[in-house]
């Protein structure tokens, strides 16, 4: 009997370890693809440049004299490529968190009105920002970020008063979404045609707005939030078993949900403030990650981040290929490219469970 039990144990331990190795390989694979896409993204641009020049320019560093390649790579293309990476990661993580805390596969970082709030903030600054003694390239991101945090605080306050169930969170979030959407429409209605064009252009998320400041700020916010999210890894996995179950296993479900919600708001604000709203990444990346490595958040959080980066980087590459000037905002491409990807994931899932 005991010999039998031991035999069963080692078999399952080996099986569990094998599964962990497979998942680690998936993470490694995603990392390689991500890196490859960033280099590809760097090598494509209006001026064209062979890969060897790209690599030598990267290796030479940003202060390598005044070669054209250095300027193009380090000051024009790299901020955009890195921004694609960081924003993709932010949206991937925020989307996964949102789907977990709302227990809803349709949720994305924009479900609870954060993007609408950011859009309103940006529109507000574009219309009235000239009155403030700050350069426009700073004031718009600050306004978008601040308005996202305002939306977060409104939802947080409502949820705190009414209860932390997914239903209440969704209802409050949808309310805030519509509030900011109509405020934004109001501004658009009142704006002059020139201003309106600027607002609309901001709303199409575009990596052209990236620069080293935006990369630094967004990365900073991400690196501040990620450790906090990772410290909840196991709790978030338990939350996937359902509220009642998680509570019975000693988790303060309400507190976990509120804490995650604030972190999602910060990540989303960081992602959209500089480049505008980029849809679909936050919805699709978590689904791809979950289909590949399951819902153990030790694996799905990093993979969701990397898949988000992969989607955004490939959208950037794709955009430059179809329009070498790079004028098509990446936000438009991700939405169009994201739909087939979503169908593919749903189809693969259905086939596996059938």
């Amino acid at each position: 009997m005991s010999a039998n039990t031991v035999a069963i144990d080692t078999r399952h331990i080996a099986g569990y370890r094998r599964m962990a190795v497979k998942r680690a390989l998936a993470l490694g694979g995603a990392f390689v693809v991500m890196l490859w896409l960033v280099i590809l993204d760097l090598s494509i641009g209006p001026s064209g440049m062979p890969l060897s020049d790209v690599i030598s320019a990267i290796l030479a560093g940003p202060h390598d004299g005044d070669r054209a390649a250095t300027t193009i790579i380090w000051y024009l293309r790299m901020p955009q490529s890195l921004m694609a990476l960081v924003v993709g990661m932010c949206l991937g993580i925020a989307g996964l968190q949102m789907q977990t805390i709302l227990d809803n596969p349709l949720a994305s970082p924009f479900t609870l009105g954060f993007s609408a709030a950011a859009g309103f903030g940006a529109a507000l600054s574009i219309m009235f920002g000239a009155a403030l003694p700050l350069p426009e390239y700073l004031i718009t991101p600050i306004a978008a970020f601040a308005m996202t945090i305002v939306a977060c605080l409104i939802v947080y306050g409502m949820v705190h008063a009414l209860g932390e169930t997914p239903e209440i969170l969704v209802l409050c979030g949808i309310g805030v979404l519509f509030l900011f959407q109509s405020l934004q429409s109001l501004l658009q209605y009142l704006a002059s045609p020139e201003i309106l064009q600027q607002i609309v252009f901001w709303l199409f998320g575009s990596l052209l707005k990236a620069n080293w400041t935006s990369v630094a700020v967004t990365s900073l916010v991400t690196f501040a939030c990620v450790p906090l999210i990772l410290s909840d890894t196991w709790k978030l996995t338990v939350l996937r078993l359902g509220d009642a179950n998680a509570a019975s296993l000693g988790i303060s479900v309400g507190r976990l949900r509120r804490r995650s919600f604030v972190l999602i708001a910060l990540l989303t604000a960081a992602a959209v403030s500089f480049v505008g709203t980029i849809g679909f990444v936050g919805l699709v990346a978590p689904h791809v990650a979950k289909a590949l490595v399951g819902e153990d958040h030790r694996f799905s959080i990093p993979l969701s981040a990397m898949v988000g980066a992969v989607i955004l980087a490939s959208a950037s590459v794709f955009g430059k290929l179809i329009s070498p000037g790079g004028v098509i905002p990446v936000g438009i491409i991700t939405a169009v490219a994201g739909i087939p990807m979503l169908f593919l994931v749903i189809y693969a899932r259905k086939r596996r469970s059938a």
Partner: protein, 256 residues
């Protein structure tokens, strides 16, 4: 050393209605106690109050410490009603989550061995690498029970641990729990719907009706013809059995 779960004058009020009132009883470790009563009697509320998941008046003390405050985790293994799992987690992963406080970035050999051991005891080893969403309701219920047992709690509070199981699985779970409470000097308090199962396999029964405790005693005393008629509105015959407790046979259609 035996430990006692002492419930004194427990009451739960929700939206102006008394769900439970004046429930008092004392239960000692080493036994499986069935909580019975018709639908809506307050069984689930009682169990969730004992587990510290619902606010209540009165006192619940467990081995000297009050469970009125939220001291839920640790010593109590509470299994709530109807928890269907829709996550793509394997059975083994789900059981491991039972001890989530202990898990680190790398799951230790000991933790996996403990989880697989419990799966073995519940004859679920063959499902270890299956995804939870592919299991039947009964299988999921067994896995969630395993998730509670892997914490090795001294007080098990099970609301619907057997409701989705076939008869032979119900019996094997009850036998397993009987072994568990003796080995760990624990107390299992569980809702049981099947009165015959409750009669045959529980060490003691607590009968709840309309939010009040009707009787707490050995099964053959609690499940009397009068009690069943009064609480369930059902006329039954108790068929005596040689060397065992009687079998409950319903006579006619009740609640016409």
């Amino acid at each position: 050393m035996t430990q006692t779960l002492a419930i004194r004058d427990l009451g739960v009020r929700r939206a102006g209605t008394d769900i439970l009132s004046g429930v008092s009883c004392a239960l000692t470790t080493g036994q499986v106690v069935g909580v019975i009563g018709p639908n809506g009697a307050g069984k689930s509320t009682l169990l969730s109050a004992v587990a510290g998941q619902t606010g209540f008046s009165g006192t619940v003390s467990w081995g000297g410490s009050g469970s009125g405050a939220r001291h839920k985790a640790g010593d109590i293994g509470y299994m709530p009603q109807s928890c269907k799992v829709s996550a793509s987690l394997t059975v083994l992963e789900t059981v491991l989550l039972g001890t989530h406080e202990r898990l680190g970035w790398r799951v230790s050999q000991g933790d996996i061995a403990r989880a697989t051991g419990i799966l073995g005891e519940l004859s679920l080893s063959h499902l270890a690498s299956r995804c939870m969403t592919t299991l039947s309701g009964g299988q999921q219920q067994l896995v969630l029970l395993a998730q509670r047992l892997v914490r090795e709690p001294r007080l098990l509070v099970l609301d619907e641990a057997t409701s989705a199981l076939d008869m032979s699985h119900q019996i094997s779970v009850l036998m397993l729990l009987k072994r568990y409470v003796v080995r760990h000097n624990a107390l299992a308090l569980m809702a049981i719907h099947d009165l015959n199962i409750a009669m045959q396999y529980a060490d003691q029964l607590v009968l709840i009706h309309d939010g009040r405790l009707v009787q707490q005693d050995a099964p053959e005393n609690v499940l009397s013809v009068e009690n069943i008629r009064r609480c369930y509105g059902l006329d039954v015959d108790l068929v005596a059995r040689a060397g065992g407790r009687p079998v409950i046979a319903p006579l006619a259609q009740a609640m016409a």
